[in-house]
Amino acid sequence: MRVDGRGLIDRSQPVTFKFDGRSVTGYKGDTVASALLGKGVRLMARSFKYHRPRGVLTAGSEEPNALLEVGQGAAMTPNTRATVQEIYSGLTVQSQNRIGPLDRDLLSINDALWPFLSAGFYYKTFMWPRAFWEKLYEPVIRRAAGLGRITRDASPERHEKAFAFCDVLVIGGGPAGLMAALTAAKGGADVILAEETPELGGRLLSDGQEIDGTPAAYWVEDIVKELQATGRVRVMTRTTVTGAYDDGSYGALERVARHVAPADDLPPECFWRIRARQAVLAAGAHERPIAFPMNDRPGIMLAGAVRTYLNRYGVSPGRNVTIFATNDDAHRTAVELMDAGVKVAAVIDSRTGVTAKGDYRLIEGGQVIGTKGRQGLRQITYRAGSRTDTLITDCLAMSGGWNPAVHLTCHLGARPVWDADAKMFLPAPGAVPGLTPAGSCNGAMSTAACLSEGLEAGKAALAALGRPAPQGVSLPEAEDDPGRTQALWYVEGKGRAWLDFANDVTTKDVKLAAAEGYASVEHMKRYTTQGMAPDQGKSSNINALALLADSTGRGIPETGTTTYRPPFIPVTMGAMGAFAEGHGFAPERRTTSDAAARGRGAPMIEAGLWFRPSYFPAPGETTWREACDREVAMVRNAVGVVDVSTLGKIDIQGPDAGAFLDFVYTNMFSTLKVGRARYGLMLREDGHVMDDGTTARLGDHHYVMTTTTAAAGQVMAHLEFVAQGLRPDLDVRIISATEQWAQFSVAGPLSRELLNGVLDQPIDDESFPFMACGAVKVHGVTGRLFRISFSGEHAYEIAVPARYGDALYRDLVARAEALGGGAYGMEALNVLRIEKGFITHSEIHGRVTAHDIGMQRMLSQKKDFVGKAAAARPGLLEPGRERLVGLRPVEAEGRLTAGARLFKEGDPHKRVLDQGYVTSVGYSPTLGHMIGLGFLRHGPECEGQEIVMVDHLRKVKTRVQVVNPVFFDPDGGRARG
């Protein structure tokens, strides 16, 4: 119910949203939880396993019960905490984990079966028959127990990610955080102040208290103005710091637009990566529930949460509230409720010798031992001394004390330290380098202590930054009594007592785990599931380990905590993966001929990040094979044009450029004449082939290396490594020029005729023999020409600055068409090179040596080079290794497939008898049958033999003959012209 005159909500702005299809009206500033409580709705969810009716336990992000599905269709987000989701007009939320309406969930039958559903029940129950687990048991269990649904479609939501930097990151905007931020900013530091809720203030907005003699909320307003006046503080509200990482890096989730209706371009969430030189953790504390029998009914919540609902939202969760406390702090709840005109039935305090702080009924030495009310609390039973009695009440505010939120201090591996006097785990000193805990996350439980620790932490951060403490920041006066607390983790009695509301774990489960030998806290967690789920045990971990400690006869520090890991709150995968949806997965690289190729209807295929044309369909062609066969014939008989700009081009210059190339290639380059190109092979340090390609010598001290498309980046990094790490003695400079040049292969018997149409100075065999290279003028533009061939034909590669690539490609293709040729794509390029036995990374896939590909002779004896020693290892030179061969079907129509295995004739097709594999295949229109390259034990020694190719996946079996890998023009006469 609403309480007049309280709360920070805007009562002039009613907001209507839908909960389970029903319209509910709250006010601007409400969360779903506060709006529902304002309307007297206590039932908000069903529990994980037993489907028990549940309401809110908390008023913050640690909420274990009130998890909802927010939004519609594929944009629905499950497991959203009602205590965090702000309402807006048009918001749609549904309760989850139910069959039928929330108040008549059919799965509540599980609750009657509770004696059977103990910890580990399905490990014990669903053992047999084994096959039933996957098909039957697991789906049924998953349907019956769980949280929200997941949508099957990709979410249309577009989150974002961003980076931020600061001198001091202050985590939490309560009293400690505000003082730390103010101190740091006034000391000249750039500050990011991250606050999880929409407003700065923390508990100051939740508790009715005074600072410097004025209501705390006014003090907060003044401080916020002061922060703004410094011009150094970036306040990030609705932002939760989710993790602490190395070197002052922090992750944070900002709920940018979860509080307004979705709109185009507006990211719902942003995942921040913040780099901070110093940090102050002012994350506060989480109040502890008490595990008393039947403590889970809607209406039973934390005492601090009741004050938050009252003071922040102007809502009382009940009309007649009872408080069950172990500490002085919770008595405030009674006082504040009564001040607001809400009836307090009683305060039941587990301690004796306590004095009431107001005019309410105090039951000393009392414990709640039972509750009633099917869908909401109606009555409680308590025991005080030998007396047992009942109370009619609709809200029970409980408090077992407070747990410092030490989570972030543990993210780099530190464990929290038990303070036996305060009965709490505290951050280990120096747990996260550069991070200073302050306030109640550090065990300071009075407002005055929080303010003071915040001030000191701000000063400490400044000192670490080498800045003096600022003038004019004084410590305000505030309540300085943290009160007394008695430890009470659980209450013995009849009925289940919940520890972990989110996972339906009771005291009985933890005792069972201990009895069955799961005495380690990590084992207990996994056996009972306590501390898992979206809340990660924020309200249950300490109680559970205290009970485990008692059950195993050990102390709390000996029992220890489970491991706190990031993220501190649930983070949607969409926020973490923001920007990587769809085309954002990787950059797309387009050649200068991309538009022309697409314009000709070429289907594009991806080669690394590049897009390249697969083939160019001609009128009347219905399959890719027809186009490919035509393009191959075109190159063999006339002339074809293909964009080869994607190949890596690396400029290598310097007095020692030749010596450098001699060291990275297996063969010699220092002896190459200026104006000539040479094929080169390079090895990794382990002696296996890294890459191959041609390198041209453009000047005495200037080479340009060509790499394969696939290995361009790897080779560039390798060259840098060699230059910087292995041969710093060589004076050589390296830079990629891949993107500078648009380069096209012009291949076929008519290639020179075509080129002489675009070159300002015509060429002939004498001026431009095979493997020549040099500068040329192309329609007046300075370019480069290389007479090299990957097709086996008389061919050239012509390069111009990339700005002219589109124009030159269109010109070359038009001229080729006039000569009976045209553009060709990757399919034809592949067939042409297989016909010639030229290798690609299908063959040099990382596990082959020069010996394996028949290039052992390219390993120079005259010099040292990378990989030389390793390549000489005996095992890498055995004739019995799988070595490169050509393969042709025995019957002309026989089919070859890449990836198929090779077997001796007559052998069973078993792995142990495997002789090798096929790497590349294609249909050769030149030869009229399929051809392939592959690796076969003893390879070249088997030439002429018939063997069997078996593709177990595609169910293909073909008799093949082992042949030389060069199928066409073995003496190379066509390319030399």
């Binding site: 974002e160 507006l266 400079r733 830079i735």
Partner: protein, 183 residues
């Protein structure tokens, strides 16, 4: 003789204006990598000064003079922009034409740092990245050279082939930042 038409990398993709930020492509101009030979750094700097009025920049820095600029672009490497290098420089440095290898995207506007913060993992605040800075970093997955001449202007160089992705990604960030501002 036929003439080859020149096309800039982001031809047809820019300009884009969203909120207070504009994204455009700078006109193509000469960009040359200048990489001093071993031990020739000081001599190169003097030769550069003599030929073009610009010394060799310190790591992370860019020096400008009128329409010319030279920006640090990596270990022992700088990009000389706006002019073809004087032939005399070849004595002291390796020179490689990079004029066509990069698209030079220009982002301008009050929210430009917010836009770049979506993609660039280095601190571009005025304190950390003063006028005359050059940063070798990333724009998302793309390798980039980011130049800050001053004010609210940043020049982002990414490989020519990725111009489409770069424009798309920066535009998305511009839209998101504008939508946030309208919140």
């Amino acid at each position: 003789m036929a003439e080859l038409m020149a096309k800039s990398p982001a031809h047809g993709l820019t300009p884009v204006a969203v909120g207070g930020v504009t994204l455009s492509e700078a006109p193509m101009r000469p960009v040359w990598a200048v990489m001093p030979w071993r031990g020739k750094g000081a001599a190169l700097s003097r030769a550069l000064e003599q030929a073009h009025g610009l010394g060799f920049p310190e790591p992370g820095a860019m020096i400008t003079s009128g329409q010319l600029g030279i920006a640090w672009s990596g270990l022992d490497q700088a990009f000389l922009m706006g002019v073809e290098p004087d032939a005399a420089l070849a004595e002291h440095a390796a020179l490689t034409d990079q004029s066509d290898a990069w698209t030079q995207l220009v982002l301008e506007g009050a929210a430009v740092r917010d836009v770049l913060a979506r993609w660039v993992p280095v601190d571009l605040s005025p304190a950390a990245c003063p006028p005359g800075s050059a940063r070798r970093s990333l724009v998302g997955h793309m390798s980039a050279l980011i130049l800050h001449p001053g004010g609210d202007r940043f020049e982002v160089l990414v490989f020519r082939s990725m111009a489409g992705t770069a424009v798309h990604e920066l535009t998305r960030a511009m839209r998101a930042v504008a939508a946030r501002e309208a919140l």
